[in-house]
């Protein structure tokens, strides 16, 4: 199973290199003054393509125990990883809409309570500190402005 993942990734890398090579050729390769913007990316993507092929060949010949090791973790672990990725992505997507404070409060509350399995009181205090607290601390002390909501009813509340 692991071997297939390695082979698949090597092919993916090779295709990625091929796309960059084609795109580099669309840029100027050489000008009257010397190498153009496409010169270095073309050379690099060519090297990357060759390295991907070498790795593919190495993976094909590989017979070590590494190839038999399970690549993906079990379902529970996958779920935990998925929750983290979805939570970060959702926080990023809604941050401009509902503002940093609300987005981060929900983000922290969900992760600390359901993945971190902490008590409600601790979860609430840390979520408030990490959202409302950080918003004001960063804004006032470090002059770093974090987004506020674009929805009028939330903006009125200072969120």
């Amino acid at each position: 199973m692991n071997k297939n993942v390695h082979l698949g990734t090597a092919i993916g890398f090779f295709l990625f290199a091929a796309v960059i090579m084609v795109q580099s050729l669309e840029l100027q390769f050489y000008t009257n003054l010397g190498p153009g913007p496409g010169f270095f990316p073309f050379i690099l993507s060519s090297i990357f393509a060759v390295l991907s092929l070498v790795w593919f060949m190495q993976s094909m010949r590989d017979t070590s125990s590494e190839t038999k090791r399970r690549f993906l973790p079990d379902r529970a672990a996958l779920l935990r990883i998925g929750v983290v990725i979805v939570a970060v992505s959702c926080a990023a997507l809604v941050m401009d809409l509902i503002g940093y404070q609300l987005a981060m409060f929900i983000f922290l509350f969900v992760l600390i309570k359901f993945l971190g399995k902490q008590k409600y009181l601790v979860t609430t205090i840390v979520s408030l500190a990490g959202s409302v607290g950080i918003f004001h601390l960063f804004g006032k002390v470090l002059s770093l402005l974090l987004p506020t909501s674009t929805l009028p009813f939330l903006a009125v509340l200072g969120l």
Partner: protein
């Protein structure tokens, strides 16, 4: 001015109240990052960069460098008390450090490690003071050809030494260079690989990438293992005995030399320095069989070496403008974000900043000694915070850090993408350090290559025309080709690169 008067001028800058406060903050945050599992020095430094946008460059760099060597101190605490290294360079300390803790000597182990770290840091800083002027004078003679050759050697060493497989290290190095191509072409200003997105015109931000590959990927790995709790060993008296101090003299001297020496070589990590120091101590000992059972030398030597390495690794950055590790590359990025180019010109154009930061290393190491001896109790208390709480806070800081780069959620997206990709690449044993280094050095490398070829009107012979560049390219070739020959001689190959 000679080195001594330059250093004195540096102290006048570093001792300004604002800079002292920033050195303290950097040291404290560095120790905290070292203590916390799930966040390494590279992600920590990247997290802090956005907070420095409104600061003076000197203060910002003082804080970030203090954070870097501060992590080495913090990593020891978890190694000794939890048997879990807070960061990779302290891993070897677990062997004898935790054994000492089990014997009720945790306090002694931590105090000796702090003293050793201080001495190692001080020694490396003195080496930087002595080496700064001659090395910068030499670097000022370099044209684009020599610069390209030097960068090639630096990156070759990094790739040759990183990870188990040279092919995978090379792939990551080239991938980093390719990512550095995104944005405006550094010579002609033409957009490349931007997909008509304004956010990509300045290139892919290195802060979200670093947070993704070192921060988010680490959290995902921890999520895979579950967010369990760890058992903390009890603290004891911090005062070492006379015999402990006597036993520490040799390891401190050897660790300082090993750490500083390896810090100069790109690709040699703090872990390599501490591991080599451990071996040196075992060889120097009359009772090598007792190592692993709580030997003072097994704690002091590696801890001295990893801190000497952290400070020594700043020597090539300050004098030649070459970062030798991912965290130093992040610090180089911070220099650039503040409009400064580390290297010989920094000493010419901004001597106050260059010497101010160097002088701050002495002050920062002294602060760390204080933070890690009388205030050790604070860090022990922090260790009691459950990881189930910490990981969410770490993630929140990563989101803020990425967002603050351009006040855009696009950067958070980049962090997520690189976090996921890096999590899977790490599972396949791809080293991430070469990617970070080439990402930062990519534009500089391309500029010097293209300028060289413009001078020679397209002839690659220019790279072997001067003796210095010819020698440097020969060294790079040997570094990259040698592992391939070694692998062929062994006659076997594996995906994990065990034979390469």
């Amino acid at each position: 001015m000679n080195a001594f008067s330059n250093l004195m001028m540096g102290f006048s800058v570093a001792l300004a109240p604002a800079n002292l406060l920033l050195a303290f903050l950097g040291s404290a945050i560095g120790t905290l990052i070292g203590v916390l599992p799930g966040i390494g020095p590279s992600a920590g430094a990247a997290l802090l960069i956005p907070l420095t946008f409104t600061m003076e460059p000197t203060g910002a760099i003082i804080m970030l460098t203090a954070l870097f060597y501060g992590t080495q101190y913090g990593g020891t605490i978890t190694s000794v008390l939890l048997n879990v290294p807070g960061e990779a360079a302290s891993a070897i300390t677990c062997l004898d450090g935790h054994a000492m803790a089990k014997q009720g000597r945790a306090g002694t182990a931590l105090s000796l490690a702090a003293i050793g770290s201080f001495m190692g840091g001080l020694f490396a800083t003195l080496c930087l003071v002595v080496a700064a002027i001659p090395l910068t004078k030499m670097a000022l003679q370099f044209g684009p050809v020599e610069s390209f050759a030097l960068l090639t050697v630096g990156l070759s060493l990094m790739m040759g030494l990183a990870g188990k497989s040279i092919i995978k290290a090379l792939m990551m190095g080239v991938l980093g260079l390719l990512l550095a191509m995104v944005g405006l072409d550094p010579v002609r200003g033409m957009p490349r690989f931007t997909f008509d997105r304004l956010e990509l015109m300045d290139g892919i931000g290195f802060i979200p990438i670093i947070m993704g590959i070192f921060g988010l990927a680490e959290v995902l790995s921890n999520a895979e293992d579950g967010f369990g709790t760890m058992k903390l060993a009890k603290m004891s008296s911090l005062f070492p005995t006379k015999q402990d101090l006597k036993d520490s003299v040799g390891p401190i001297a050897r660790g300082s030399l090993i750490g500083t020496g390896l810090g100069l070589i790109p690709g040699m990590t703090g872990s390599a320095a501490s591991f080599l120091s451990y071996i040196a101590e075992k060889k120097a000992s009359r009772t090598p069989e007792k190592f692993g059972t709580g030997m003072v030398q097994g704690v002091v030597g590696p801890e001295t070496a990893n801190n000497a390495h952290a400070n020594g690794a700043l020597i090539p950055l300050f004098t030649l403008g070459i970062p030798s590790s991912p965290t130093v590359a992040v610090i180089m990025g911070a220099f650039m974000m503040h409009g400064l180019i580390p290297g010989p010109f920094l000493f010419q154009e901004h001597p106050d900043i260059a010497w101010g930061v160097i002088a701050s290393f002495v002050i920062g190491n002294l602060m760390l000694l204080i933070l890690n001896l009388p205030l050790i109790g604070i860090w022990v208390k922090i260790l009691k915070i459950p990881y189930g709480l910490l990981f969410a806070i770490i993630l929140a800081f990563m989101i803020i850090g990425s967002y603050s780069v351009n006040n855009s959620v696009f950067e958070i997206g980049i962090m997520v993408v690189f976090g996921i990709v890096s999590y899977f690449l790490r599972k396949m044993d791809f080293p991430m350090a070469p990617l970070v280094l080439t990402l930062i050095l990519g534009p500089q490398m391309e500029r010097s290559l293209r300028q060289s070829l413009e001078i020679s009107q397209g002839s690659f012979a220019i790279f072997i025309e001067t003796p210095l560049s010819a020698v440097l390219f020969a060294i790079a070739a040997v570094i990259l080709i040698a592992p391939a020959f070694k692998s062929l001689r062994k006659g076997k190959n594996s995906i994990s690169g065990e034979s390469t």
